[in-house]
């Protein structure tokens, strides 16, 4: 089982401290939700894991240090960013590129497009997609290689109801398959349904959950 470990993770951009000594452990096969207000550092934490943001402290995935062995660490990750972008690539072309890079059979590109409901748009330019379709395509990229750890940043933010249903099915299947998941979301229902526990961030620090959040999450959990 592949876990995630962060120790005293700090991100400083200019004179702003985005993450301030965050320590976090996600066990292999565990699903953890990241909750916090806008600007609390949820996305930055995920972006550190995929090597987009330089940091100080220790960060590893499956025992592979993200800074020292970025390729090794990233090969264990499937990442769904908050705002996906694919340049001027067509949907299937973007997936085939990732498949080649990761040594996955390119036929898998068509399969994941079907999984996320985009098979009919395989030959279209991703830049012309709606926000929801781009998010589905990004989910397809994350699913493509069968990576053992999934990082999902606001995975349903742009999805319509049908898209959210599809995502919920995929995410449930991922959990059943024993994937490790770190999910940031503003939707209490989503977090409580998809995760084993929740980590609260505030101003770049891990904090005890505010009382109103506990109530919201409990209510959402009760509605499952």
């Amino acid at each position: 089982m592949t876990g995630i470990r962060a120790r005293d993770l700090t991100v400083q951009i200019g004179d702003r401290t985005i993450l301030d000594g965050v320590s976090l452990e996600v066990a292999g096969g565990e699903a953890v939700g990241l909750v916090g207000a806008n600007g609390s550092g949820k996305s930055t934490l995920l972006r550190c894991l995929v090597g987009l943001v330089p940091y100080s402290g220790e960060l590893s995935v499956g025992g592979r240090d993200v800074a020292a062995d970025p390729v090794g660490a990233k090969s264990l990750l499937g990442y769904l960013p908050q705002k996906p972008a694919f340049g001027d690539a067509r949907a299937e072309e973007a997936l085939r590129w990732v498949a080649r890079l990761r040594g996955v059979p390119v036929a898998r590109a068509r399969e994941v497009l079907e999984e996320v409901g985009l098979a009919a748009h395989a030959g279209e330019r991703a830049a012309t997609f709606s926000g929801g379709m781009q998010q589905r395509l990004s989910l397809a990229v994350a699913l493509l290689s069968g990576a053992p750890v999934m990082l999902l940043d606001e995975p349903t933010a742009s999805l319509d109801l049908e898209g959210q249903r599809t995502f919920a099915e995929i995410a449930s299947a991922l959990r059943r398959s024993g994937r490790t998941m770190l999910i940031s979301s503003h939707r209490p229902g989503e977090i409580s349904r998809l995760t084993d526990r929740v980590v609260h961030l505030d101003a770049g620090r891990v904090v005890e959950p505010p009382a109103e959040n506990v109530v919201l999450l409990a209510q959402a959990g009760g509605m499952r």
């Binding site: 951009i13 970025p70 390729v71 990750l77 340049g87 690539a89 990732v98 890079l101």
Partner: protein
């Protein structure tokens, strides 16, 4: 140990090449090269007794000036947009989240843009060369080929400079402005600056020569002139000093080495800056 991957630099380069070939600039650049090459070749006949297209030598002389003017503008712009454009769009973050290093990404981008520019140069110049060769059958095709090689070498240096600007400035608007300023500086202002420095600082010839080694356009100008003609007066003070001090072969080696060193230095600088950058 990291898992085996399928040539990431080549994959990024192929992706960049494909994107470039889809862009309108490629057809525009290749078409412009072809049209201007043929136009210059035809104009080379002005004042001569023959009619029709000029031979390789005249065409090559005209193309040298075209290349020195046009190629840096194209390569600085395209190299400049290669990283900044996708940084602004967020597509670079999506790429970098895959098992690839930042150095591989920059190298792949550089190689892809250079391949696209080379394709444009070869398509434009190659077609002109074939047409002129068929029409006249005369002149030195070797000199023409040397110019094509020189243009590719100049492209290697200026694309690298563009990529460095791209990584450093990170936005399309800033990069386009900087690329234009760099083009203006390399093509027009550097000579004026050098003259000013020579007068103000009483530079010695070796210092003037060293100054010229910093400008890829100047290096290409001297190399092109050496390929075209044995007349020493055409080389200018920098070329003359270099030829006196190093001999023809030494001067060629120094200039080619300076162009390659500039390319390697700029790409290395781009990698170094990009390693520490926050990617949106």
């Amino acid at each position: 140990m990291s898992p085996p991957r399928a040539f990431p630099v080549a994959l990024v380069a192929a992706r960049e090449l494909r994107q470039s070939l889809r862009g309108r600039w490629f057809l525009l650049a290749a078409g412009s090269f072809l049209a201007l090459s043929l136009a210059l070749s035809a104009l080379g006949l002005a004042g001569s007794e023959r009619s029709g297209l000029a031979g390789f030598d005249r065409t090559t002389a005209s193309l040298l000036n075209l290349a020195l003017l046009f190629v840096p503008l194209l390569t600085l712009s395209v190299g400049g947009l290669s990283v900044a454009g996708e940084l602004e769009d967020g597509a670079l973050g999506q790429l970098l989240s895959q098992p690839i290093t930042r150095a591989e990404l920059v190298l792949g981008k550089y190689a892809g843009v250079l391949a696209a520019v080379s394709a444009a140069v070869l398509a434009g110049f190659g077609a002109a060369g074939a047409i002129v060769g068929l029409a006249t059958g005369g002149g030195s095709a070797a000199t023409f080929l040397a110019l094509v090689g020189l243009t590719l070498l100049l492209s290697a240096a200026t694309v690298a400079l563009g990529v460095l600007l791209s990584v450093w400035l990170r936005s399309r608007a800033r990069v386009v402005g900087a690329a234009f300023a760099a083009w203006l500086g390399l093509v027009y202002l550097s000579d004026l600056g050098a003259v000013g420095l020579i007068v103000a600082r009483h530079l010695r010839p070796v210092q003037v020569f060293a100054l010229a080694l910093l400008n890829p356009v100047q290096q290409a100008r001297v190399l092109g002139t050496l390929a075209l003609s044995h007349r020493l007066d055409l080389l200018g003070p920098v070329g003359l000093y270099g030829r006196d001090a190093l001999g023809t072969a030494g001067l060629v080696a120094a200039l080619v080495g300076a162009l390659l060193a500039l390319a390697v230095g700029c790409v290395g600088g781009a990698v170094s800056i990009f390693r520490k950058a926050v990617v949106p």
